[in-house]
């Protein structure tokens, strides 16, 4: 499983709008919620793209649209060489085995009236796949692989804890060896000790089967643990996207900065020293988004231009795109690191040996402890 990475997913200008209807006897469409408004991304085999954002940012809608669980309004989705954005449900079926999903809530994602064996074997049945050695053997092998006892084949989901149910969901998702697994907040409903087990399991499976993950989550520390690249969403737009080491050490968008500074660090000494960028208010309603830059109403950098002109997502450095008129300069980042506003890991094993010149250059953070 050491084939060279190749691109398996290319999403271009994906848009998913939901109509807003008037009340009354004959409802009319009076507006649109632009849940996802023109996002583009690519994903290679064995790669994890973290998609982060607050609730209402459109990250879940984007993930579901990419799998065609929601019909997108516009844009292209190319999965392993096939355009799937406009395919009919029937034509989609053979493609579904290439892309699977793991859901957030392990309690609602499994049918309580089906046995675990029935749940995990469903992909084989639906796709008409007869694995060598029979379905039952294949399912039990999967159960063993994800850390479940294969003897529990005939048990029902209610006999399992939350973490074990999530393992059932993972076994079902990887049953047909998909290329792409979309994980929608797969660990946020789990206790911390179980969450760490699950992250390790997902990493192991990726190494073994070269799966690409689109990992949707709001927890930036979790996303850092598993992702190779990260895209930050806000009100239906990707506002910044780059590699993990750069996003966590030298972000440019003010929103990324405030998200990172809001994450609490489990160490009272570090916590005391940090000054946070606390954003005011909530994410605005997507029915009536702000003009110009969607983030400007909460942005500490906002100026007049932001209200008028939509900032395009520009590649400011290799592998680093940001949509902002006034991105926070590297010098400011270094200053805020020194002031303790940003906590930057001293080194990252995957960081480029020589820091990229220009905007990415950043002084090493202060020693911790």
């Amino acid at each position: 499983m050491t084939a060279a990475p190749r691109e398996i997913l290319r999403v271009t200008d994906l848009r998913t709008y939901f109509p807003v209807r008037s009340r009354g006897l004959i409802p009319r469409v009076i507006g649109q919620v632009k849940a996802v408004d023109g996002i583009s991304l690519t994903l290679n085999t064995s790669e994890t793209l973290g998609l982060v954002g607050e609730s209402g940012s459109g990250k879940t809608t984007a993930a579901r649209s990419i799998l065609r669980l929601i019909k997108p309004t516009g844009g292209q989705i190319e999965l392993d060489g096939t355009q799937i954005a406009n395919l009919s449900q029937g034509a989609l079926r053979p493609i579904r085995r290439k892309a699977q999903m793991i859901f957030q809530d392990p309690y609602n994602a499994l049918n309580p009236r089906h046995t675990v064996g029935g749940i995990i074997s469903a992909p084989f049945r639906i796709q008409g796949v007869e694995p060598p050695g029979g379905v039952k053997a294949a399912v039990q092998e999967l159960m063993e692989r994800v850390g479940l006892n294969p003897e529990h084949y005939n048990r029902y989901p209610n006999e399992f804890s939350g973490g074990q149910r999530q393992r059932i969901g993972v076994a079902r998702a990887i049953a047909l060896r998909p290329m792409l697994v979309v994980c929608d907040e797969p660990v946020s409903a789990l206790d911390v000790s179980i969450q760490a087990q699950m992250l390790n399991l997902l990493k192991d499976l990726q190494e073994e089967f070269a799966i690409a993950y689109l990992f949707v989550a709001h927890d930036l520390a979790v996303v850092r643990q598993i992702s190779h690249r990260v895209a930050v969403m806000y009100l239906g737009h990707i506002v910044e996207t780059t590699t993990r080491p750069i996003l966590y050490s030298a972000p440019l968008h003010p929103y990324t900065h405030s998200l990172l500074s809001a994450v609490p660090v489990p160490d009272p000494k570090i916590q005391m020293k940090r000054t946070r960028i606390v954003l005011q208010g909530d994410v605005p309603s997507p029915i009536d988004p702000p003009s110009g830059c969607v983030f400007r109403t909460r942005c500490f950098q906002a100026q007049e231009r932001c209200a008028v002109e939509v900032p395009p997502l520009l590649e400011v450095a290799p592998d680093h795109k940001v949509a902002c008129h006034f991105p926070i300069a590297a010098a400011d980042v270094a200053a805020s690191v020194r002031a303790g506003q940003l906590n930057v890991p001293a080194t990252d094993p995957d960081a480029p040996e020589h820091p990229v010149e220009g905007v990415h250059f950043i002084e090493p953070g202060p020693p911790h402890g």
Binding site: E54, S55, S161, G162, G163, Q164, D191, V192, S193, I194, Q195, A196, Q197, L199, N200, K203, H218, D219, L220, A221, V222, R224, Q225, Y248, S258, L259, L260, A262, V263, P264, V265, P266, D267, P268, K269, I270, Q271, R276, V278, L279, Q280, G281, D282, V283, N343, P345, A346, T347, D348, P349, D350, H368, G369
Partner: protein, 359 residues
């Protein structure tokens, strides 16, 4: 400061109890499948004006402890034994209407889901006014004025207009603010916050935590924060109590718990969380296995089945003998059979591996 009760009796001659003192509190529920021992012999004290964080995973008994203090367990069919002393008054022996009079005035609680304390049919202003009138004899107009003040205080923008809003018209963070305002309206001495920010986004979580700590300073409220998030504990708590399987397993001041935890479970929790301030480990080092079923707890140490070090204890004591919660240093209690030196060594090793990543 937290202390065991017996030690306190010996050490101090003053008969005065601390502001909140929970003594040997146990709660059990009878269910179809058997008796659920939700909490078992919880003993802790809390000084006025301090913040205690109760940390644990689901099923650890942290929420039941809070509900027992609020007197909510009996109505849920639970059996409560032990004593709860709040400001010189014993709560567990009180009649339900007596507890009801204290609830909302002496002690108040906020929840993870604000809709569990806000009624969807009534305007938020009217709900807070009702909370005032339930406990104090003042006029409606005065109560409304006070409500408006409180809404401004907890940071509701355009409070004059929002006072007549229904809960569904507000965002999640805003509802959380309304609920905090409602909880504080009668200036309670004790505020219990049960996972107050779990349902919120990080940016809103930062706002709410800031609000709770400002209000705490201002009103001098004593706070019990129930959470699973060790990040926010580091942020706001003075003392930390770690619960597992219905028992306290480690109690100490926040700096002690983060700088020198000794119970293997606390160490496991700290090594399970992905951290942004450290170099990225290739893999996390989680606690193995799953939490125990509260119906069928292990006979010895509740954590034994998941513990990496129980084979180091002689005679397999972890399997059969229940360890006691014993002081290991000033302000630090641990429930573990391992000898203290060995615990400290393990703790040092684990923390070196964790921190080693940041070198």
């Amino acid at each position: 400061m937290i202390d065991v009760e017996e030690r306190e009796g010996r050490a101090r001659s003053s008969p005065e109890r601390p502001f909140l003192s929970i003594e040997n509190l146990s709660v059990s529920f009878n269910t179809e499948d058997g008796v659920v021992q939700a909490i078992d012999g919880v003993t802790l004290t809390l000084e006025r004006g301090k913040t205690l964080a109760v940390v644990g995973e689901s099923g650890s008994g942290k929420s039941v402890t809070a509900q027992a203090i609020m007197g909510l367990v009996k109505s849920m069919g639970g059996h409560v034994s032990g004593e709860i002393w709040l400001d010189g008054q014993e709560l567990n022996g009180l009649e339900s209407d007596e507890v009801q009079a204290l609830r909302g005035s002496e002690m108040a609680m906020i929840f993870q889901d604000p809709m569990s304390s806000l009624h969807p049919f009534y305007r938020i202003g009217d709900q807070i006014v009702e909370a005032i009138l339930a406990h104090r004899k003042i006029g409606k107009a005065a109560a409304r004025k006070e409500t408006l003040e409180m809404l401004k205080h907890v940071g509701i923008p355009a409070a004059e207009r929002r006072i007549d809003a229904y809960p569904h018209q507000l965002s999640g963070g805003m509802r959380q603010r309304v609920m905090i305002g409602m909880a504080l309206i009668n200036s309670p001495q004790l505020l219990i916050a049960d996972e107050p920010t779990t349902a919120l986004d990080v940016t809103v979580q930062a706002q709410i935590l800031e609000l709770i700590s400002t209000l705490k300073e201002e009103f001098g409220t004593t706070v019990i924060l129930i959470t699973h998030d060790l990040g926010i504990v580091a942020d706001v708590a003075d003392d930390v109590a770690v619960m597992y399987g219905g028992r306290l397993v480690e109690v100490g001041s926040t700096s002690v718990i983060y700088d020198g935890p000794e119970m293997p479970y606390t160490l496991g929790l700290l090594s399970s969380i992905p951290r942004m301030d450290r170099e990225l480990p290739k893999r996390l080092d989680p606690i193995r296995g799953n939490p125990p079923s509260p119906i069928n707890l292990p006979p010895g140490c509740v954590f034994q089945p998941r513990c990496n070090y129980s084979d180091r204890v002689r005679d397999g004591a972890c399997l059969s003998v229940r360890p006691e919660l014993l002081p290991t240093a000033p302000d630090h209690l641990v429930r573990c059979h391992l000898p203290a030196e060995e615990r400290r060594q393990i703790s040092e090793d684990v923390r070196r591996i964790l921190a080693g990543a940041s070198q």
